[in-house]
Symmetry: C2
């Protein structure tokens, strides 16, 4: 194969380790200069390709690229931008290929979730049809852990470690204050459709009586009476009750609880914030003193408490993506394969993008206890390996010393602008 | 001096390092078995003394006590329980002294904030008047950093490190998404009356353009128009805006903002949560996409990212309290003295409780920029040393391995019950 340039872009919500995947891609590409010329990154993800706003990663030092391994967020900018279907907007895909052609880009590495896997697949198909075949490899990333085939998704393990650590710490706090103060604590975590992150909270409860005592999953319709009864029972038994709740919990009417309760001074629905809704309900019904927290972006950005396993896997899928492309594999995604549960051993496998795109993986019902309020031993066995090991970033002035790249623009070659 | 027993209790909201102070007290007492017999702890703080519910710390192994150094929360239980004034409820103080006498307790170590310093002082005075003099030493603790005389308060440095780390991580996240998604992020932190924790968020912004861009202090009345203008200006300049807000921010009418906005479905005011109020305001006025987080207990329990300086100081004041008591010092509190700013050097000094009790230390006005939206270089110079160094707890199964003590009860000696 002749030497061509490569393009890498980040897609969707960023994570604590998506840059570790970028690091894997770039460091591996740099090792194959005979095959890969320049590695360009899209400024603000796929927008950078559409608008020909490319970043020349060769302008970054080896140490800056190495620092991506421990820097959260998307170093080149990510985008929440879903390309329409080929039928609806073929021009977008054609533009991508036009830009790739103009910059002699023969490899496309797209780092994201289900939507971007689909885009990746379509670019591959269309480029072939247009006579400028591009090797397209998707690099998996999502805190939601909802991609199919792969045993887990890079990004998830670090959120899992963060939420389990945080809810354990808060549980200790509440336990020591409950006699005269807060008896109920609610932590809201991410997961609009799948309860993986909520489930990870459950890892903190290793022994009888430890928090969290109740988990509220998006997969289980919220039953107010059963919930209130369980809170009361827990407080009577242990003196306090710690609750992990998914932002995506729905009532029996199928509506998000977070949209059901709060109004601002103007009567507008308050978006986000199921934790205060749950906490207020406890106050209404049981009069317990409560506190609540909403972790929001803190959880997915918390590189300071990242899972070593997750970081290693994120790097590995980036590295494998380049190696697969160099082997001529197209329309594939490196996946994590669980080789052994105990001791935990994993390896990199490959999935065809046609099997990945636009599929969501939900929590199996047998990962949730029969009463719907906690995780089972089976779930614990699945989750626990994913949070193993610490991988602390370097600190400077008492704070994590994350890298900011120079992100030097590649001179444009096309005269046409493209509206996105 | 004859050998007597000692009593230790934790008071008020717990922290990531109050147990490090307990560790300092207990380990130091154990080194002086010729002078101090048993060290008892109050179960649920001062309630344990009032109800004669004492814990025999001698039943705990040396390794369990050593583990307190890295375990957040209050290992013996803390209490939000303020003793009334001597005039209002002399019986409470007399009961304390009766319990101390029954258990041959000659030393009282009280670990808390301003209120407990006051209690400590009164117990000392009354015990003397009642002919059973008790040596009373207060051990400082408060995340609010509002105790007088001491340069800083154990507990604060770790919250400061947590919030600065978290808002830096969230800033990186938002910066990389802002082009197509969230442009404004709001993190709510503790500090009902003093803006120290909010100020600590500011440490994350070390270079031009870095978040947080705006801080909202309880010391500065919230001016909606000026705030909105600043948010817009920031988004136009940097593409995004990160805001740290104190839970105690008040409007120009002097009312808490957190009480001004949200109503639940029943029309009741939603307690807590100034972050959603601020975020909604941004949406109303500027239409920017926003996210918000409320750290709540996560911030004060976050032992996993504690400041090494804070841990060392928390231990040191515990140790010093026992040493002061053994030297016959009474009605005092060990304090942190800043011996040198650069390089940062500190030592332990002593303050008289009469100078400490019921005083609050607010942020000096010259720690806040003239426009009221950020911290000054002077503030940064004060805060920065307090977050230096990491002091990670041990991990097991991917999670911090905190200790839970046995907390064995001391047999009661008094026949009378006491209603609290």
């Amino acid at each position: 194969m002749p030497k061509t340039n490569a393009f890498y872009a980040q897609s969707g919500g960023v994570t604590a380790v998506i840059n570790a995947s970028a690091c894997g891609v770039i460091e591996t590409a740099r090792k194959h200069k005979d095959r890969i010329g320049k590695l360009y990154a899209g400024r603000n993800g796929i927008l950078g390709a559409l608008t020909e706003d490319l970043i020349d990663t060769s302008k970054e030092s080896a140490s800056a690229i190495a620092a991506l391994r421990y820097t959260p967020s998307g170093a080149f900018g990510s985008a929440r931008y879903k390309l329409k279907s080929l039928e609806e907007n073929r021009a977008q895909y054609e533009r991508l290929i036009e830009v790739f052609k103009a910059h002699s880009i023969g490899y496309f590495f797209y780092n994201g979730g289900g939507d971007s896997a689909d885009t990746c697949l379509k670019v591959s198909q269309l480029s072939e049809a247009m006579g400028y075949p591009i090797t397209c490899v998707h690099v998996p990333k999502t805190v939601d852990n909802d991609l199919p085939i792969t045993d887990c998704c890079p990004g998830f393990g670090s959120v899992a470690k963060y939420v389990a650590t945080s809810i354990r710490e808060a549980s200790y706090d509440v336990a020591s204050m409950a006699k005269t103060s807060t008896k109920v604590f609610v932590l809201e975590v991410m997961g609009r459709h799948a309860g993986w992150i909520t489930a990870a909270c459950g890892l903190a409860a290793e022994n009888e009586g430890e928090g969290p005592h109740i988990l509220l999953f998006p997969e289980i319709a919220f039953d107010q009476d059963r919930f209130i009864a369980r809170v009361e029972e827990t407080v009577k038994k242990y003196g306090y009750c710690v609750i992990g709740v998914s932002e995506g919990v729905k009532g029996t009417d199928g509506k998000f609880l977070s949209e059901s309760g709060l109004r601002d001074a103007f009567g507008h629905a308050q978006l986000g914030g199921v934790a205060p809704v749950i906490a207020n309900l406890v106050r209404e019904k049981l009069k317990y003193k409560y506190h609540w927290a909403v972790a929001d972006y803190l959880q997915r950005a918390a590189r300071h408490i990242a899972s070593k396993t997750d970081v290693a896997q994120a790097y590995a899928v980036g590295k494998a993506a380049v190696e697969m492309a160099l082997k001529g594999r197209n329309s594939v995604m490196p996946v994590i394969v669980r080789k052994s549960a105990k001791p935990y051993k994993w390896a990199i496998g490959a999935a065809e993008l046609k099997d990945v795109a636009n599929q969501e993986k939900f929590m199996p019902r047998d990962y949730i206890t029969a009463d719907g309020f906690h995780i089972t031993a089976k779930c614990r066995a699945y989750l626990s390996p994913l949070i193993q090991g610490e991988d602390y970033p370097p600190f400077k002035n008492g704070l994590p010393a994350y890298v900011q790249l120079k992100n030097v623009a590649v001179p444009k070659k096309l005269s046409t602008d493209f509206k996105v």
